[in-house]
Amino acid sequence: MKVSYNLLKSFVSFDLGPKELASTLTSIGIETSVVSNACNWTNIVTAKILDIQKHPEADKLFLCKVSDGAKEYSIVCGAKNISVGQIVPLAKSGALLPDNFQIKKSKIRGIESEGMLCSKRELGLDDESEGIYILDDKTKLGVTLENVLDDVDSVLEIEITTNRGDVLSYLGLAREIGAKLKKIVTCPKIKTSNVSGLNCVQIKSNLCVRYIGGIISGIKVGESPKWIKDVLEKSGIRAINNIVDITNYVMLELGQPLHAFDLKKLSSKNVVVRAANESEKIIALDGKEYELSSDMLVIAEDQPIAIAGVMGGQYSGIGKGTETLFLESAIFDSVSVRKTSKKLNLASDSSYRFERGVSWDIAEVAFWRAVNLISDIAGGKIEAKEDLQNIKYEKTTIVLRVERVFKVLGYKISKDEIIEILRYLDMDLQSKGEVILCTVPSWRNDIKEEVDIIEEIVRIKGYDTIPLQKKQGVYLSTSSDSFIGKTVEDFRVKLNGLGFSEALNCSFCEIKELKKFGLKYSYKIANPVSKENEVLRPSLICGLYKNLVLNISQGVESVTLFEHGKIFNELGERKTFALIAYARVWQEWWKWEEQKISPKYDFYFGGGIIKNILPQDFMITQNLTPKEYYHVGKTASVVHKGKVVGQFGILSPYITEGIKDEVFYCEIDLSSLEKDQNFEVTQYKTFSKLPLVKRDISVIADKTLPFVKIEKVIKNIMKLGGILKDYSLFSVYTDEAKIGEGKIGYSFRLSYKDENKTLTDTEVNNDMNSLLQKLDLQLQVKLR
């Protein structure tokens, strides 16, 4: 809401400039900024002219000595209307005038000027002006100019929190300022009269709380006076005619939306407030037709004549020929108005206020204020009135315990101070020992319980008065990180060292995208804003693959990313970790010219990374149920404590068609790890100082035989605690022409050691033979 700074002053007196007022309001929870400001100045203060001399080098210029009360300045000035003793606006060096004109110290015809005396035009106060702006000779010196000018106005923009509909008016804002500055608020004087006798309104819905209607005759529709138009304009409301403008003016002034109907256009003179009929239509004042539904409230004869609280109908609107009008000041259910406004996509100044709640008392005050203004301005006379109170209003009374204020806030505020603060908030108070009974004014429908009163106290006292005081004492001990948390941390740090970057993708994807990866969604969004938010991601692959494609398209040659976050599949919400790796492993380097090696991420290299980052109790096994997005021949499972917790492999060429190199991907379901387990602690084993004896053997196996089976035979022998201590695979031979069709060759380096003595050749040979025999016997793997 936009308001005039000057008009605000007529409701409550204060000495604050627009900027200070804005920050004072902000400090009590009403975010305020100065939007338009004739006084868009900095560093312009009031100053007194002490002396005027002729400029030695220029006939038309003067040298002035001026003082802002603290310091004297010499100023070169060309105006003729100045004389000693006058108080004038002084733009000091560094001052900013409208249009961003900056004042600097400068030499004018050889004499230094420390600023500028300003005219109204230069200050942006007038289009044309002659000479320096001479201020009242009682003006204080050294005051910033915006604080001494009454005839210039600023517009303030007020942003309220949803609970504070009561400040959406001049009166409401004035009440807040009054409460903070301890000033009495002046409400416009209202003349009421004892008319009644109107019996034409009927309320048929509990969504209408109160309805005050009145008939005013003998009016003359015309243009509004300037002062009303000015106020409307500052709040961004278009002036229409005196009647409509008065209803809007009263709404701005008091916060109560009003509506006026042309009585001539009402056929039956019987008005019903009722739920709309399904599919009923109305053309509103904005000229558009709206289709209503039964959850909306309307003011109707046979046909609706207004959408309650939102907008009136065009047909019954006030026009040039209106002589008698029907004035409405009502209270409608705030939720109903909000829903109607949203559903129709039709918001108005009226709906904005009803949604945030209006006041029982003010509804009547506003009615009379409008009647008075119409009579003054448009010459109308009230003929009849009725006040239907559909839902009785009961005042809220709250018990405030003084000791509770301390318990919540943590610092002492005396009872007297509490009472003073609450009085200025217009509460009726009854003090009973350590308890205060607070009766809340009808416009504060946000105050419902004790703690709301406590907030009011500290809000008005000022959050800056809360002492900054650290509590001495013992903090609770914190829980240590979970197993899953530590595992993730381990992954992140290790991958970072391996050149991976951490990615974050949004949690949604499109159904179309999922099909590509052979994935199904488990959670669909009922109300997505766009297709991008259709379903929740059932895997991290959609995002990471999209990132890969983006980066390739940007010319990045190798992409390594990891992500951890939630995925949403048939098991529910799952913590998941994934990585994607593509193309050259090592960075380009001038030395590669001589070394000529730069591996690419393939199944083995990627698998190596997985093996490297996994804690030792994880294992890699055959992937019996690979996800559809993997290359069936290049995939494996990650197993933890006998449970498959993840898969990795090369992405199916079906997906990566068009991409030059293989794409490695791995996804681990962290939620399937047990939550509270401990990391296995490695136990130290003594090691022999004696040297290892190394032997190489090459064996031939069927290609179909999983390598892990050969490994198992070797590991089993090692487990027996003999002299075989370690092995490594150093070559894989796949040339079937040389080793036979369907065969594959492996070369191992075996390490032997005896903890107590140096081994002899015979001992090593015997052990190796027994290994070969086992391989042959169990797996038909033979020495090459």
Partner: protein, 340 residues
């Protein structure tokens, strides 16, 4: 004889001083070898009287060790010089392109911020808890004192899941409820996590973002404590010089509520485009836990009080690094990610 030994030592030292690696070996033979000058003397000791023998013997032996030492130290010097020359020849360009096979890894700025904030709060005695991203209406709204028909519950802002009553949490505050349901006071916890808002994306809005929720409940927790803890946190995160301001605000689940502003980090409070000339940046929302929230988890709202706060991770991260478009966080362009 004694003079003779001294002469020998003098002569030997003179020769050693100018010897190279080859000649130094010859000198060694000449004096200390089988037929070397000193060896000769030692061999001839039997020709002297017992008294002289002892005297000359000890002199000769010490002369031997003097020469040996000289030779060793000469050798050491020569070896050093040689290596020195070799190294000079091998000198490489320090300004050249150094190399590490893997490119530099990076952590996502959002995750970094979360970690930084969590570790500050851990040092202030908070535990870290995890919440759920799929929530019920009860946890996301009712338990937090957001009744049916409250504007915050409008379908427009919340992602609802098809076929259920569930939704994607719109804030991390449901985490408060889960924590309080699972334990008795005292509570001192933060809940970092992902939250969702159903709105069109632009430079400052995205459907997915992150928050960190904080909660402390005990018998004697007050607004004073809230102010102290958050001021401490902000100073630890942004530096001790920064100005902080608490101003009243409104949240359904806290009463009194406050918005915390910090001095704009871009202009040091002078006013700039980022802070819309106000000199201040809105940092987080907080307040005293509303009694209705405590009642929802069966805490005695008379006995216990608490404070809660919530901050937007994206917002803080954008301020920290001067990032002007929230969508950059979710594109994962490596040219962006590698900067962190």
């Amino acid at each position: 004889m004694n003079n003779n030994i001294e002469e020998i030592v003098k002569e030997a030292i003179l020769q050693i001083k100018t010897a190279d690696l080859k000649t130094v070996e010859n000198i060694k033979i000449k004096y200390l070898g089988k037929n070397g000058a000193l060896t000769q003397i030692l061999k001839s000791l039997s020709n002297f009287s017992a008294k002289d023998r002892k005297n000359i013997g000890s002199k000769a032996n010490s002369a031997k060790s003097v020469i040996e030492n000289e030779i060793e130290s000469r050798k050491e010097t020569l070896r050093k010089t040689l290596l020195e020359e070799k190294m000079q020849k091998e000198k490489l360009d320090y300004s050249s392109d150094f190399y590490f096979p893997f490119s530099k890894g990076s952590f996502h700025p959002i995750m970094q911020t979360i970690q930084d904030i969590c570790s500050i709060f851990k040092s202030l005695g908070f535990s870290v808890a995890q919440g759920y991203e799929i929530e019920t209406q009860w946890y996301n709204f009712e338990a937090l004192n957001i009744p049916k028909n409250h504007p915050a519950r409008d379908v427009q802002d919340t992602f609802y899941l098809e076929g259920t009553e569930e939704l994607l949490r719109t804030h991390t505050s449901p985490g408060q409820i889960h924590v309080m349901e699972s334990q008795k006071p005292p509570v001192r916890v933060i809940v970092p996590g992902r939250v969702y808002r159903n709105e069109a994306s632009d430079a400052t809005h995205f459907s997915t973002f992150h928050q960190i929720e904080g909660l402390a409940v005990d018998e004697d927790i007050t607004f004073v404590d809230l102010k102290a803890v958050l001021s401490d946190f902000i100073h630890k995160f942004f530096g001790y010089g920064i100005d902080i301001s608490f101003r009243p605000s409104h949240f359904q689940f806290t009463e009194p509520s406050a918005e915390v502003d910090v001095q704009c980090v871009f202009c040091n409070g002078k006013g700039c485009r980022v802070c819309k000339n106000s000199g201040w940046i809105e940092l987080l929302g907080c307040g005293i836990v509303h009694p209705n929230v405590l009642k929802a988890v069966n805490y005695d709202s008379e006995k216990y009080t608490g404070y809660a706060f919530g901050l937007g991770v994206e917002r803080i991260t954008m301020f920290k690094y001067g990032i002007d478009d929230i969508r950059l966080f979710y594109e994962n362009d490596l040219r962006f990610l590698k900067q962190f």
